[in-house]
Symmetry: C2
């Protein structure tokens, strides 16, 4: 177990109707709110109207239409709005894309110049607007972390930036706000949660307490994602998925660990280049990556995974057991309706070398649980084809 | 899963040598530190000298000799010191008793009148001095919660008070600082951690994510307490116990649950009256309470406990399986060297009725997982004799 610092200060309001607490929580930030949202689902399901009524004492500015893979030009647009109107805070209403974009806007308001420059030089961020979140999708965990992913369509780049300044101050997690999430997005979100946990779990550094938490979070998704798919307004299922999503990426699952991920960096290259949903891409890559890294060095961890996550019985042969866990992972993603090949998304091998080069350059793949070279990434991509 | 608010803002510095970060973290609070500690183990093991050197730029006032069950007169003494010297912050160096006493002092500095009055009227606390902690015992979780237990020897009362104001701002968790903890205190601390988790786990409200975490924390203690007893300076064992202790009571394990405990209120009466270590008292009471509440209503939860915590196989008969989990709990406490009867501590039945009456009056035992009447508590105490 490595040394670590843990400091997660977001005030989490979890449960039905918790939006009602927002006016009281937000008033200490000021009067002018930049309300950010995505494609308009919050207008169709009534959440937008509910919040406008609740926040009638505030002056509201809006930035809607945030893309599923938020773009740097949208960030610049949000920051310009701040400079024009003197916004006091951002209220992000949506899933990870809206929250990520809002984080970037919050930091970009105090940044001189183009926001892409800020994303690249994240260590120079010193200040950001306060951020509050009303979450509408259980997936990225962005509501309780200090990271965001921003895309630059001009360069086909998709970069992760971290800054303690962009940790949300308040997060409303009302599971009811996820009832209208589509089956595909519910499944993709579930795969994203599982991938966050799996990335933390398969790590060079062993740490019992965080890994026991990680195993529990995986069991929660495995149990409740199928229920949410069958009955989209099952409160308990939506609640467990929502809480698991936050817990998966609030930093606890990586305490004491090396925290060098693998699949996410490969997937970011896929979704920077193609029209593929992040969680769905992860569901394709993860089982193939698992098979690729299974070896004498990793087999014991895979056995723990098979037993503690999937309930497999300890068998004589370690590799049989390890593969049973990987098979179960792959079968689960299929069961919740996600494609298991890149071809299903119309992706071919044209850009594999270039994507592998970028994944290795941007990610810390050489520090990963099993270090990955460009050749390794290309092999994993071919396995996923 | 019930609605909840989660807001735990303590900055946790975990690992070897993390004390070194203290001067930088504390300087924002001011210059004058009240250094609180217990019976002097920190002078014997060198931690006191190390901290005095590290904090040589600060003006240090001292309050040593804090009792294992911190007394209200010590709280008043600390508050008087503040009023005389104008302290800026408290640095608690010790286990739960020192941290709890420091929390009470931190709030009592802004309280007019006797500190016992403050403990009784905890909802009137509005302000407290900043608190930092250097933890030396894995047990109470007080380093990342907003609660404290204070004793009044005159009235044989031992009360728990909560106030968001007393949540520590910084907590240094260096597992090396627990190497010199005695076997009995290591075992009692481990029983205390397990009891916190068990109290959260056996609850009227079901919630998968927190309970998966709770099961993992129990497995961590079951695995690492015997290792720490066998090899007191095993870093990994001390680290997992220390992190499990904080995680057990940082509020995550009770998110979405009813949070009405049982054994703690009964034990507080025992240790208010007799010379018994809190964790050791809990180790006596917990398995008896489990047997007392086992019924058709609770048996499924006990089966989960037996399987997911103790690794028992699912058997045909639910009650057999449930009892196997309880037997394992009892055997584990014996294995780590804790007595399993009250008689072993020289406690007889003289005060059972009076203690039962107080436990029911002070605790919310009627709201517990299985509601307990005074008669029930007396029965559990007799089972524990």
């Amino acid at each position: 177990m490595k040394s670590f610092e843990y400091h997660m200060t977001t005030d989490i309001l979890f449960g039905m109707g918790q939006e009602a607490a927002l006016p009281d929580r937000l008033k200490s930030y000021g009067k002018k709110i930049l309300l950010t949202y995505g494609g308009g689902s919050i207008k169709r399901n009534g959440l937008y109207d509910k919040l406008r009524v609740l926040l009638s004492d505030f002056e509201i500015f809006e930035l809607g239409g945030i893309e599923p893979k938020p773009r740097v030009e949208t960030v610049n647009r949000g920051a310009a709005l701040y400079k024009r109107e003197g916004i006091d805070m951002i209220l992000a209403v949506g899933g990870g894309s809206t929250v990520d974009c809002s984080k970037a806007i919050a930091a970009a308001t105090y940044w001189e110049g183009d926001a892409w420059d800020m994303v690249v030089h994240m260590d120079r961020i010193t200040r950001a607007l306060p951020i509050a979140v009303v979450l509408t999708l259980a997936a990225t965990g962005s509501e309780t972390d200090a990271a965001a992913v921003i895309s630059n369509p001009n360069t086909h780049e998709k970069l992760l930036f971290f800054s303690p300044c962009v940790l949300p101050g308040v997060a409303v997690l009302n599971p009811e706000n996820t009832y209208t999430v589509s089956p595909f997005q519910t499944a993709s979100g579930s795969a994203d949660i599982m991938s966050h946990v799996i990335e933390n779990y398969f790590d060079r550094e062993q740490a019992f307490v965080p890994d026991a938490i990680n195993e529990g979070l995986l069991r929660a998704v495995i149990r409740y994602a199928p229920i949410a798919l069958e009955k989209p307004s099952d409160y308990e299922a939506r609640a467990q998925l929502m809480w698991a999503a936050s817990m998966a990426l609030n930093g606890l699952g990586s305490t004491g660990k090396n925290f060098a991920w693998s699949c996410h960096y490969i997937e970011h290259e896929l979704s920077a280049m193609y029209d593929i949903t992040h969680g769905a891409g992860l569901a394709v890559l993860t089982p193939k990556w698992m098979r690729f890294i299974l070896s004498e060095y990793t087999v014991d961890k895979f056995c723990d995974y098979a037993v503690n996550v999937w309930g497999c019985e300890r068998s004589e042969d370690k590799f049989t057991l390890a593969n049973r866990g990987i098979d179960a992972t792959e079968a689960f993603f299929k069961r919740i309706g996600l494609p298991s090949t890149l071809s299903a998304f119309g992706i071919d091998d044209v850009h594999f070398s270039m994507m592998a080069e970028k994944a290795c350059r941007i990610g810390r793949l050489q520090d990963a649980y099993v270090p990955l070279s460009e050749d390794d990434v290309v092999k994993i991509l071919y396995m996923s084809l």
